[in-house]
């Protein structure tokens, strides 16, 4: 092996010689995964901010902070993966517009700005209040963040609300675009049998929403435990229903896609079958087994109107389950697609390295960062108490 190349992937059958050097590593698995969590968290916040569903109010602002914390780290795995990360801005300064990837910085940049703006409007009253009561450098920071406006009269707050509403409205298609775009990135690669599907953007988007809701449930329960406050039962019920609905749709679409693929039996289907039974069997099992198990749990929770401690526990299980299942789905797409040789006569097996800049440790570090940032942000801008005080004002 030469240079920094990881071990060449072992293979069976016939694969093109260059294919043994797998182009996209586990870092590119985590990239659509994190993006998806952002999209999902944002959609939950929009259910309250745009659709006025009051049961989501307890998590609406927290969801915004979650979305932005994860959004900050969306570019990280991509940068780590680049052969020449110092040239990353070439794609920004001279974008080659026939490439879906050229749009990344613009789509992501736009979305971060939108999130930050929406957060500012949603938290302005709190920032103003803190700027008046906090001393020292933190106080200066709060005062700077008021951007010189400390008007929190009902009229000003109503204007804030309008802006937040408008931004959330724009945010829905933007979140859809952001993640639909990731799906397009894969779905448009005609050279890869396992990716090249018109349904890819839809599947990516829907599974993103499900995983984002899962993340939010887990974080909400964890924060409530730490804060020693009860979890809002109505909010949990609402999240259960939303997760159930999106999960059901994505499972139906994914199932139909597989069914069509195997029914049509186009050339190379034997190898697709061997891919599912071979290199990705365990991650397919996690994806499908996990999803169906969560669907069953959610169905029971909804049908039997489970409340209280049981609801909380099983929703947490469902949240974790969905996060794991969708991570497995990302693996199946990104890695599975590359394990199926372009010759359609062979299969490769990708083994991630542990250390190294494209290894599992790097992925673990990248994935830990958003949680740390979220914790810091929620220390700085608490999404909880003021909402409780303003109960029913919107």
């Amino acid at each position: 092996m030469i240079g920094t190349m990881a071990e060449a992937a072992p293979y069976v059958g016939y694969v093109y010689p260059n294919e043994t050097d797998i182009p996209w590593s586990v870092l590119i698995v985590i990239y659509p995964y994190i993006t998806g969590l952002v999209a999902g968290a944002f959609i939950v916040s929009s259910l309250y901010h745009v659709f006025g569903m009051a049961q989501y109010k307890p998590v609406a602002r927290f969801a915004l902070l979650t979305a932005v914390s994860f959004m900050f780290f969306v570019p990280t795995p991509l940068l780590l993966h680049l052969g020449n990360p110092q040239r990353a801005f070439n794609a920004v300064l001279t974008p080659h517009w026939t490439s879906a990837m050229a749009a990344f910085s613009y789509v992501a940049g736009f979305y971060i700005c939108l999130l930050l703006l929406e957060i500012w409007f949603a938290f302005r009253a709190d920032i103003v209040a803190k700027s008046k009561t906090t001393q020292g450098p933190l106080g200066t920071l709060y005062r700077a963040l008021t951007l010189g406006s400390d008007d929190i009269s009902p009229r000003a707050l109503a204007i804030d609300h309008k802006f937040a509403f408008a931004l959330a409205m724009i945010g829905i298609p933007a979140a859809g675009g952001l993640h639909g775009y990731v799906g397009f990135l894969f779905g448009s690669v005609k050279a890869r049998e396992w990716w090249s599907s018109d349904l890819m953007p839809i599947i990516f988007l829907l599974s993103a929403i499900v995983s984002g809701i899962g993340l939010l449930v887990v974080l909400y329960v964890a924060y409530s435990k730490v804060r020693k406050v009860p979890v809002d039962a109505d909010c949990m019920k609402g999240l259960a229903r939303t997760m159930w609905a999106f999960l059901l749709v994505v499972l139906v679409i994914e199932g139909l896609e597989l069914l069509e693929m195997f029914y049509k039996r186009l050339e190379g289907i034997d190898m697709v079958q061997r891919l599912i039974e071979g290199p990705i069997w365990y991650s397919m099992l996690i994806q499908w087994g996990g999803s169906l198990a969560v669907l069953a749990i959610l169905t029971v929770l909804i049908v039997f109107k489970i409340r209280g401690k049981a609801l909380e526990t099983w929703m947490t299980v469902s949240g974790v389950g969905m996060m794991v299942a969708v991570l497995a789905m990302r693996w199946n797409v990104v890695i599975g697609g590359q394990e199926l040789s372009k010759t359609m006569k062979g299969l490769l097996t990708y083994y991630p390295e542990i250390l190294g800049h494209e290894g599992l440790l790097a992925v673990a570090l990248v994935f830990t960062c958003p949680f740390i940032v979220l914790w810091l942000i929620t220390r700085f801008l608490s999404p909880w108490e003021p909402e409780a005080r303003k109960e029913g004002t919107s």
Binding site: Y16, P17, N18, T20, P23, G83, M101, A102, K190, R192
Partner: protein, 284 residues
């Protein structure tokens, strides 16, 4: 990277600089005209910027006058792999069994079997037979088998008319020349490998030392000087044919005229410019 490659690239980067200066010139000209000074500059720069197409990159070479294409006569190939070694040496390709700008596939039908056994020089058994990842040979594994049909198929970049790799490059570092060759500007490639994914033929490979994608250039540094690509040059049986389609007397024009040719994976819509004679349904 070979010296010649570097030269071609340094010329290319000079061209980029020249274009930049040209644009700067236009800007200066406009500004000059606005303030009513520098009319001489405006005249001088204005004249040069009238050229729509960038001038040829190589002295005495006009890329508007050529249309390169490649032919492979698989019935002639003997699987000697001189082409693979010549390519690696000529172009400084990573010296291992996982990075190739060109390779050769062996298809063997055994008696009573419907599907071919396929391998290439990078197959582990073949590497074991050659004893090195720098020299290549096919092993003799079918010595005692009842072979019904067998043939070799050389593979290389198809320099497609509609290259999917160029389409997906986020920076434009990989591009198509006017004479029909797909190249990569190694000084501009960010190393995202989207192009590696997009190529249906698996011909793009990643140079881990430079952090950029690499590929067959049809030896652009040679063909623009009137030479043949290295793989064509060394082929002892003329299984590889190269030339200018604009020249009816060129080997490739004769090859296309005299043979019924096919291309690989036409369904991708990439419209390859490597034309094959004597390949089988199993070849993809």
């Amino acid at each position: 990277m070979s010296q010649q490659d570097k030269k071609v690239e340094s010329k290319e980067s000079k061209l980029v600089r020249r274009n930049f200066l040209k644009m700067l010139g236009i800007g200066t000209a406009c500004a000059g005209a606005l303030v009513g000074t520098g009319s001489l500059v405006a005249k001088a720069q204005g004249t040069e910027s009238a050229t729509a197409v960038p001038p040829p990159k190589i002295p005495d070479y006009d890329w508007n006058k050529h249309k390169w294409a490649f032919g492979v006569d698989a019935t002639r190939c003997i699987g000697c792999l001189r082409c693979v070694e010549a390519c690696k040496a000529e172009n400084g390709v990573t010296q291992d069994a996982h990075h190739f700008r060109t390779w050769v596939e062996r298809y063997v039908y055994l008696e009573g079997e419907e599907r071919a056994h396929v391998d290439s020089q990078s197959d582990a058994q073949n590497i074991a037979a050659s004893g090195s990842e720098k020299e290549f040979r096919f092993d003799n594994r079918y010595k005692d088998a009842k072979v019904e049909k067998a043939f070799f198929v050389p593979k290389l970049c198809n320099h497609c008319t509609h290259p999917a790799c160029v389409q997906v490059c986020p920076t434009g570092a990989t591009y198509q020349t006017k004479d029909g060759v797909v190249l990569i500007d190694h000084s501009y490639c960010i190393g995202c490998q989207y192009c590696v994914q997009a190529c249906p033929y698996g011909v793009r490979e990643f140079n881990h030392v430079m952090g950029v994608t690499d590929k067959c250039t049809w030896c652009y540094h040679r063909i623009t000087k009137g030479l043949q690509p290295a793989c064509v040059e060394v082929c002892p049986v003329e299984a590889r044919v190269f030339g200018d389609r604009n020249d009816p007397q060129s080997p490739i024009s004769a090859f296309l005229r005299n043979n019924r040719v096919s291309v690989l994976k036409p369904e991708t819509g990439n419209a390859p410019n490597v034309f094959y004679v004597g390949i089988d349904k199993e070849v993809s």
